[in-house]
Amino acid sequence: MMSNKKNKKLTPTQQQYQAFANKRMPKRPVIKNCIKAFLVGGIICTIGQAVKWVFIHYFEFTEITASNPTVAVLIMISTLLTGLGVYDHIGQWAGAGSAVPVTGFANTMSSAAIEHRSEGYVLGVGGNMFKLAGSVIVYGVFSAFVVSIIKITIKALGGM
């Protein structure tokens, strides 16, 4: 009965218990987490901006072409911090602040790669590297595709 999908709704006893338990559960400190995320996310972006500035001023990049090496530097820093076992501690403190920027994306890939090194390079590292990042790429690319189609259509109809 319990496994029946239609009866998936909670029984009165379960509902009663969950209400009872929820009252005794510490809540996620949402406001505190938001402030931390804002600060850390902001710091990461500021570092990125500084790196970009260096590329523009010392390496003859333009504002547009400097983006690629900047992202590469941030990814390298993030991967290094993941390997040194620091990034997960930053993540616990900063939450979305260190998860949303490109550094978070690099962390999901490198942490999975490190984790599965013990299963070898092919089945382990290669096979699991995109365990967390894979869905971001799949849905990211797909939504970009949909948005592009919409844009092209509107343009073709003379809307832009």
């Binding site: 338990a21 809540k27 997960d88 616990q92 998860a99 942490s111």
Partner: protein, 333 residues
């Protein structure tokens, strides 16, 4: 002999001749570091993977328990063990090393008391002597299997718990000197519909309460019979819920008497959030801390209620709720 619905009373009182607890670095920095027989500086234990490290922890705990009991590997008649890994590889591989007839168990984090109660049952019925009951868990191996990669920077909520890197083993004999296993209450599966794997304590609390109620009902005992009643790994959140549930069910439970292995094992300043969890939690705290206190004479009677969540990463992803269980074992000096 069965008494009531779900409690075994071991009339011959099998004895825990010796016990051992082995832990990792986080446990070494914890509140009960002195109660471990061996602590490792490195979570890898010099092995090539976390899974191999967990196997090594379990092997060491068994070895130390056998040695302390003045026994030999060859004299172990049965080995009963459980862990959290898929297909309980830690236990099975340790059994390969030990070479004794082996019963592999899975009760998630309740495996520690599941193996002890079955070992006592075998000894009590004279179906075997010199048995090892053990359980193990490894923080990184468990995180890898059940959650995210260990170095992944995701934020955990305050209800999350820290899987203990450790293994505990007990050498059980029909007769001898030491703490005696007098009764065991085998728990039912209780599912209150909670599906958040970062809230294990909240999910397991009703299972613990169900088993505690059954134990005292079956044996017609009062809770003050025991010096300590310790749940396995409810953590601070689940333990509070369990305490309040017991009160709601009109079971008198002293605050000093009612504790939790997951709360005891770490210091407050350690980043363990709601506390310790895993098979290794109740196993190391019981076979290290509590039994040491019993041998020193500080405790006479204890009840360990090891709690477990019987879920898998796949059942969680398929949006199933988490069935929970608790087994209680009464140990008396």
């Amino acid at each position: 002999m069965i008494q009531g619905h779900q409690t075994w009373v071991f009339e011959s009182k099998p004895v825990i001749i010796a016990s051992a607890a082995v832990g990792g670095p986080f446990e070494g920095n914890g509140a009960l570091a002195n109660d471990f027989d061996k602590l490792h500086q490195d979570t890898w234990l010099g092995q090539g993977s976390y899974e191999k490290a967990e196997k090594k922890l379990l092997e060491e705990a068994c070895e130390i328990a056998i040695r302390k009991g003045g026994s030999k590997k060859e004299d172990v008649q049965f080995f009963l063990s459980g862990d959290l890994m898929n297909q309980i590889i830690s236990s099975s591989f340790a059994a390969r090393t030990l070479g004794a007839p082996f019963l592999g168990l899975f009760g998630a984090c309740s495996s520690s008391m599941e193996s002890l109660s079955l070992a006592a049952l075998i000894a009590d019925n004279k179906f075997g002597d010199n048995l090892i009951a053990a359980a193990s868990s490894h923080n990184s191996a468990a995180e890898k299997q059940f959650r995210y990669p260990t170095e992944y920077g995701g934020q955990k909520p305050p209800t999350a718990q820290w899987t203990v890197t450790g293994a505990g083993a007990a050498l059980v004999r029909q007769q001898g000197e030491g703490p005696k296993v007098t009764a065991a209450t085998i728990g039912r599966v209780v599912d209150m519909g909670i599906s958040d794997p970062f809230n294990m304590g909240g999910a397991m609390a009703p299972a613990a309460v169900d088993t505690i109620e059954a134990h005292f009902r079956d044996l017609n005992r009062e809770t003050d019979y025991y010096d300590i009643i310790a749940t396995g790994d409810l953590g601070s959140v689940g333990h509070q819920i369990a305490a309040d549930l017991l009160k709601k069910h009109n079971i008198k439970m002293d605050k000093q008497r009612f504790t939790d292995c997951g709360i005891l094992i770490y210091k407050k300043e350690q980043p363990a959030l709601a506390g310790g969890s895993g098979c290794g939690c109740s196993a190391t705290v019981t076979y290290g801390h509590f039994l040491n206190r019993m041998r020193k004479g500080e405790l006479k009677k204890i009840l360990i209620v090891a709690t477990g969540v019987l879920m898998s990463p796949i059942s969680y992803q398929q949006k199933e709720s988490m069935p929970c269980i608790a087994h209680a074992v009464s140990i008396e000096m």
